[in-house]
Subunit: 217 residues, 2 copies
DNA sequence: ACCAATTATGAACATCGTTCAAGATAAATA
DNA sequence: TATTTATCTTGAACGATGTTCATAATTGGT
């Protein structure tokens, strides 16, 4: 996978140059990743990044069209990490209820442990700016897919499209509690309190869905 | 209510000056309010605001310590408007289920109709910056309070503290669906789809809570 | 060794929010 | 009313920001 070649530069290049650019791209991604994790996406600075990478400021723009695109690439990594955390969370869980609780807890834990990474996912491009790239939605879907397993047990009557949409809805609901909790705009803000509320929410949703299913029979 | 006198300037002032400042403050708030509604908080510019208000850039800083504080004041107005919208939404509703559905719909509608106002509430000060002022939490609580009515019917067993916390949790969940829906990061993004998912979520939560209550009896 | 094409550089640019010396203004005083 | 003094208002200047592009450095072929 060659980021530079694949995504931004298609025109003729000297072979040595391309190798250097891909290496620089990797270094920039790593550094931006660490910087965002440490201080948040708002504190990412082009000049500081260039100095840390040992290159000129202009070099950044020979590899990424702008900082937004670099941030988006880091966000892609974050989505992968969250996906991995969710996958690990459901291992050894049998009941759909327990699976959903573990998934929600894992999501909250990632947000608490990596607030910079996590908030960069949503703090960025909230309004109608450039549309998100296709691979972004694909990776988001991969993360959502973990919720579909327990949902299929709770609501076997739903077709796949409805289940996919419901998975996104449940994810969004948990996300809302995590977001307003961590931002201090609702709830008391401590991870424990947020965790309690996430559990209460997931439990209510799961029981509500199960009740709906029982009603249909 | 005199914003300038009450909040930022306590020292001796000339009477004519104070009158002018309060008038300027009101004008700036109105203009910022309209600008945020029209183009979003990200597009608010000190120079443009000064020109629109017919004052110098420095004059803004004689009335507000910085733009953040002005935005926060506008956010206070937005919270009042949302509070009013929620209050109007539950009029004539009898069942707790219907009340919660109407409340969620009203919240979504406000967000759709006033995305600038709405996103300014959350897009701003997400990370650990200055703590939110006390009146901000108070106004947020007023908005949350509308959900407590139906919750009291669904879960009469809860004490007030738990009910307050549950109200915030339910609000956060609905907010999450609205946010990820409107940002296009989950769900298809059309207000209709988001509305459908909000209804499904609220229904599940309400049934889940009611089931929990029945179980306790 | 030379040259032409390509690539890297970092000062310069446009734009922010914010400040503060200096001019304008209003109250106090003679 | 004229003068003084305290206060307020102004907008150019400051420091930072992301981004660009003329210029210098470098590379690969002849």
């Amino acid at each position: 996978m060659n980021i530079v070649q694949d995504k931004y530069e298609q025109r003729s290049q000297r072979p040595a140059t391309l190798a250097r650019k891909t290496e620089l791209a990797a270094r920039l991604i790593d550094l931006a990743d660490a910087a965002i994790d440490a201080a948040g996406v708002q504190e990412l600075r082009a000049r500081a990044l260039a100095e840390a990478a040992g290159c000129s400021v202009g070099a950044i723009y020979s590899v990424f069209p702008d900082l937004d695109e670099l941030i988006l690439t880091v966000n892609g990594r974050t989505l992968d990490r969250i996906d991995a955390a969710l996958a690990a969370a459901v291992l050894g869980c049998t009941t759909p209820m327990q699976q959903m609780e573990r998934l929600a807890s894992a999501y909250l834990n990632y947000a608490v442990d990596h607030r910079g990474h996590w908030s960069a996912l949503f703090q960025h491009r909230m309004i109608g700016e450039r549309p998100l790239p296709g691979w972004y939605a694909t990776r988001l879907d991969l993360a959502f897919r973990h919720i579909e397993g327990p949902l299929q047990v709770l609501r076997p009557d739903l077709d796949e499209a409805s289940r996919v949409q419901l998975a996104r809805t449940v994810f969004s609901a948990v996300h809302g509690v995590v977001e307003l909790g961590l931002s201090g705009k609702a709830l008391s803000g401590t991870p424990e309190t947020i965790g309690d509320q996430v559990q209460i929410l997931v439990s209510a949703i799961a029981h509500g869905l199960a009740w709906k299913n029982r009603e249909l029979k």
